[in-house]
């Protein structure tokens, strides 16, 4: 880390100075077109210690001007040198939204940043990644800088008036992530004036162990005489900067609207002693929007692990990420705080699947993940593409394993779970397990990983096989707490081979929590287990005034209440037909079972499910029902279909397999999702490739899934081209199955023009054509 001897002062606004001089176009081009102007502005800031290059928008994704990135980058550094001060290369965001929210991939963003660093690594004194609003993008930027240069990296983000970045990250979460990635300073720039940023600055100071940097705007802009103007005066600006420094800020400067006079005024703080701050080092992991402090007891959901789970295994082998996502969502809804993710199957490319699964799950669930693998490359892939700071599961006392994993943990700031075992297996006694834990902590420290980044799992044995050792596991928990680390246990393992496993699991969980267990790795769908954690939080004093407990159990009326329908189920269905027609998803499975007691499966399908759907379709077509009602009915039918399928003879209800994709360039896929639900409700098997799918991937999907029919969706005129390209490539790959085209801009004519076989205006239209194609 960069040793700071005193406060550093950076320069002020560049864009606003250019605007004042009447320059509007690309500020980057001015580096070559008007170097004398840029140099004069840099020189006007020579009262500062460090000057930032005029390169905010200079990356291959954002910059669309007449020069090459290299020409501009080199000239920009030369211009900044004119001030005779240290030069930091300014890197701003790409201006594009990263996946999964947008279309830009992490690797594309990384390459764009890496390009400018590679050009400038030997001629600058450091880098400032600034004005980022997306945590994932700044991670790509920081990695690009650190993997191509050994110069200091300062990273600052923008926050809005609610104290969050534009993608919803809090200051604590930003600090945890950026510090984890090893920046030399972190903080906030632009956003608003110093007054508005005070709250964010104070919060950053409380939680960041690295120096904090603040470069505010000159207050909030106001519209005056038709122009945007900054009106905050130097006195007030200075007053806030002084206050920030008094509280421990180490690097200051100005952003939009600040002028050389502002920087001149605050340059007096240069070299001042930086106030020492006391920062509590907690064990904290985070996703892009959720921070979990592993204190008290936090539940880690264990269900995303194929060991002993046939359906998950199948899903992973088929590349069916929908199943994984549903498992993730259901665990999150059931109260998990963290999700374990393990995709280890011998037939799989674990590295590739881990990265993909990580991205897909994060698209739907905001809980932090625990990357669980024994394959070093899979761990690194997961941790690299993870948006935030994850947990790694795991290392053990074996030196080779630690040497493989600790460098990854250090580089990406991950917390590591250490298992108290080594090459000789799991030691019997608590004392021996403690010694391994101690060895893990020491080795981690050699890698620069502090104890708050280590958790210890003292390993559960099965009570049926090694009854006497159960208490050693619990005793070991008590011992390792002395090392100042947090603890974890895979609690459900204790009951293997015994009846009424739930009871043993719950009792063991309570024993372990009493001895200091912080993170049970367990099934969050087990209400009794989750209940035990919530109850323990009350009895241990963690849940102050039992507020959370009361929130959960306030309507509890004994065991029977568990069977009480949830609030959303206030509408009752008389029978399955009625249930589908009304679209009551939650009652569909139960009512379907009731029907199956008296009728055979095929009758239920034809006389009830399909009949109800046809009636709903008719009402929708005649304009009596709204789209949400149609979809609710489809969802209810889908639930019933899942129940009835188990009773049907194999292949009896087999219908065509449909592959769906929203084409490249289109990120809005609600239309495609409606088609999917409706098709599934009619019993069609659907392979969903998702949105923004490149033509080549659709062709790959065709070869992999062997569908009978392909449905493509496009929302905008610009993406119809990409639909045409997709159909062309499909045909080139020997695809002869019918292609359906749909979406807001499509019609019969356009569909014909781009060689689609069918155009259907909505989901019901799709089904009608399919039924005829049978």
């Amino acid at each position: 880390m960069l040793p700071l001897n005193g406060v550093i002062v950076f320069d002020g606004g560049m864009g606003s100075e250019l605007e004042k001089l009447g320059f509007t176009g690309s500020p980057e081009d001015l580096n070559i077109d008007r170097p004398e102007v840029i140099q004069a502005i840099h020189r006007s800031y020579s009262c500062a210690d460090c000057i930032m290059t005029n390169t905010f928008g200079l990356n291959a994704i954002k910059y669309k001007g007449k020069y090459t990135i290299k020409e501009l980058a080199l000239k920009a550094v030369e211009n900044a040198r004119a001030a005779g001060k240290k030069v930091f290369f300014d890197i701003g965001p790409t201006g594009a939204m990263l996946q999964p929210l947008g279309t830009l991939s992490f690797d594309e963003a990384y390459s764009a940043f890496a390009e400018v660093v590679e050009i400038t690594k030997d001629i600058v004194d450091g880098y400032v990644a600034e004005t980022f609003s997306d945590l994932y993008e700044i991670k790509a930027c920081i990695l690009a800088i650190k993997e191509h240069s050994d110069k200091p990296v300062f990273a600052t983000m923008t926050f809005d008036s609610s104290g969050r970045t534009l993608t919803g990250s809090t200051p604590e979460l930003v600090a945890n992530t950026l510090e984890g990635l090893g920046v030399d300073a972190l903080g906030v720039n632009c956003s608003a004036g110093p007054k508005e940023l005070e709250g964010v600055v104070m919060r950053l100071l409380k939680c960041s162990s690295v120096p904090v940097m603040v470069k505010p705007n000159r207050g909030l802009p106001v519209l005056k005489d038709g122009k945007t103007q900054y009106t905050l005066d130097i006195e007030e600006f200075d007053c806030y900067i002084k206050k920030f420094i008094a509280n421990g800020v180490a690097i200051v400067g100005g952003c939009c609207g600040t002028t050389p006079e502002f920087i001149e005024r605050i340059s007096k703080y240069s070299g001042r002693k930086i106030k020492r701050r006391k920062v509590e080092r907690a064990t904290v992991i985070n996703s892009a929007t959720k921070l979990v402090n592993i204190d008290g007891v936090k539940i880690c959901g264990e269900r995303l692990n194929p060991t002993g789970k046939k359906k998950l295994k199948e899903a992973l082998l088929n590349g069916d990420y929908d199943y994984l996502i549903d498992e993730a969502v259901s665990q999150a809804e059931a109260g998990a705080d963290i999700l374990d993710l393990n995709v280890g199957l011998p037939q799989l490319d674990e590295k590739k699947v881990m990265a993909e699964a990580c991205k897909k799950i994060q698209e739907y669930v905001d809980l932090p993940l625990q990357i669980d693998s024994s394959d070093r490359e899979a761990v690194e892939a997961g941790v690299r593409y993870y948006n935030g700071i994850p947990l790694i599961n795991s290392v053990n006392g074996d030196g080779e394993v630690m040497d493989a994993i600790f460098p990854i943990a250090k580089k990406y700031g991950a917390v590591v779970l250490g298992l108290t075992m080594d090459k000789n297996g799991v030691p019997k006694t608590a004392k021996e397990r403690f010694l391994i834990a101690e060895r893990i902590v020491k080795r981690a420290e050699e890698y620069g990983i502090s104890r708050n980044k280590i958790m210890i799992d003292t390993l559960v044995v099965t009570a049926s096989a090694e009854q006497k050792l159960v208490k050693e596991t619990v005793e070991a928990l008590r011992l390792v707490k002395k090392l100042g680390v947090k603890t974890a246990l895979g609690v459900s393992n204790v009951s293997f081979g015994l009846p009424n496993r739930g009871l043993l699991n719950k009792t063991f969980l309570t024993m372990a929590m009493t001895c200091g267990l912080n993170m049970p790795i367990m099934n969050p769908l087990d209400g009794e287990m989750v209940g035990a954690v919530k109850a323990f939080a009350v009895l241990s004093g963690e849940d102050i005034n039992a507020e959370k407990y009361i929130g959960i159990f306030k309507d509890y009326a004994g065991a029977a209440s568990a069977l009480k329908p949830a609030e959303t189920e206030h509408i009752a269905a008389a029978n399955l037909y009625d249930c589908i027609k009304k679209g009551i998803k939650s009652q569909a499975a139960h009512l379907c079972k009731t029907e199956l007691e008296e009728k055979d499966a095929m009758t239920v399908v034809n006389d009830i499910l399909i009949a109800a759907l046809q009636e709903v379709g008719r009402l929708y077509d005649e304009g009596t029902l709204y789209l949400p009602q149609l979809v609710a009915s489809a969802e209810a039918a889908k639930c019933a279909f899942e129940v009835v399928t188990e009773k049907l003879p194999k292949g009896a209800a087999k219908k065509q397999k449909v592959m769906l994709a929203t084409v490249k360039g289109d990120v809005h896929d609600i239309g495609k999702n409606i088609v999917k639900v409706v098709l599934q409700s009619y019993g069609y098997e659907v392979a969903d490739l998702g949105k923004d799918v490149p033509p080549e991937s659709v062709a790959e999907g065709y070869i992999k899934h062997k569908p009978d029919v392909i449905g493509l969706s496009a929302l905008m005129t610009t993406t119809v081209k990409s639909m045409e390209e997709t159909i062309r490539i499909l045909r080139e790959n020997g695809c002869d199955c019918p292609v359906f085209a749909g979406g807001a801009v499509l019609n019969e004519d356009i569909a014909k023009k781009i060689s689609a076989d069918y155009y259907t205006k909505d989901a019901l239209g799709f089904v009608k054509v399919l039924e005829k194609l049978k």
């Binding site: 965001p93 201006g95 594009a96 939204m97 999964p100 929210l101 947008g102 279309t103 004005t131 609003s133 997306d134 923008t158 809005d160 609610s162 969050r164 534009l166 993608t167 919803g168 632009c190 519209l223 038709g226 122009k227 945007t228 996502i325 549903d326 969502v329 809804e333 698209e363 739907y364 669930v365 509408i571 009304k582 679209g583 998803k585 304009g623 009596t624 029902l625 709204y626 789209l627 949400p628 009602q629 979809v631 609710a632 489809a634 969802e635 360039g665 289109d666 990120v667 809005h668 896929d669 609600i670 999702n673 409606i674 639900v677 929302l715 905008m716 005129t717 610009t718 993406t719 990409s722």
Partner: protein, 183 residues
Amino acid sequence: MQKSEQTDALIAQCLDELKGIAHFRYTYKYSETAPEFLKSAPYAEYLKGSSGLFIAVMTLGAEADAKIKLYSRTDAAKAIVFDACASAYLEYLSDEYENGLGDNLSYRFCVGYGGSDIADLRYIFDIVKPEKIGVTLTSANYMLPSKSMAGIVAVGNGAEKSCKNCVIATHCEYLKRGEKCYR
């Protein structure tokens, strides 16, 4: 159409959730003269007689998109309602915001209205730089977060809304019934 209690309840629930999670942001540049791309139809017609214009971009933020995505997995019917409510809520908040921008403002004319080319979004993005409120443009000219709008607001010409400029004029349920969606 029949009234659906279920859908009405869902709409109320979605609006309530939106109020809690949406982060409405609005950014603009004011200009007395229209930049080049606004000098042809249909913008020119809309701007006729105006004394100035706001070029603006507004958004509900990424949180709304995340919710729609989650509901598309857990409750597809709710996803559709949430998506529609989010669009309507953005329109409403933008109207409210513009009420505070000054007097004599005309209705908001967004890119896409009246057959205008969505590629014009590029010009607006160059001028307004809405990245600072977290709005970005894909290479296919799609704004992200998806609950975002970009357009112009004329000052002092009393331009009035008309169905002929509407993007769904050809298949509008209101028009079919001889009604309008605005006052």
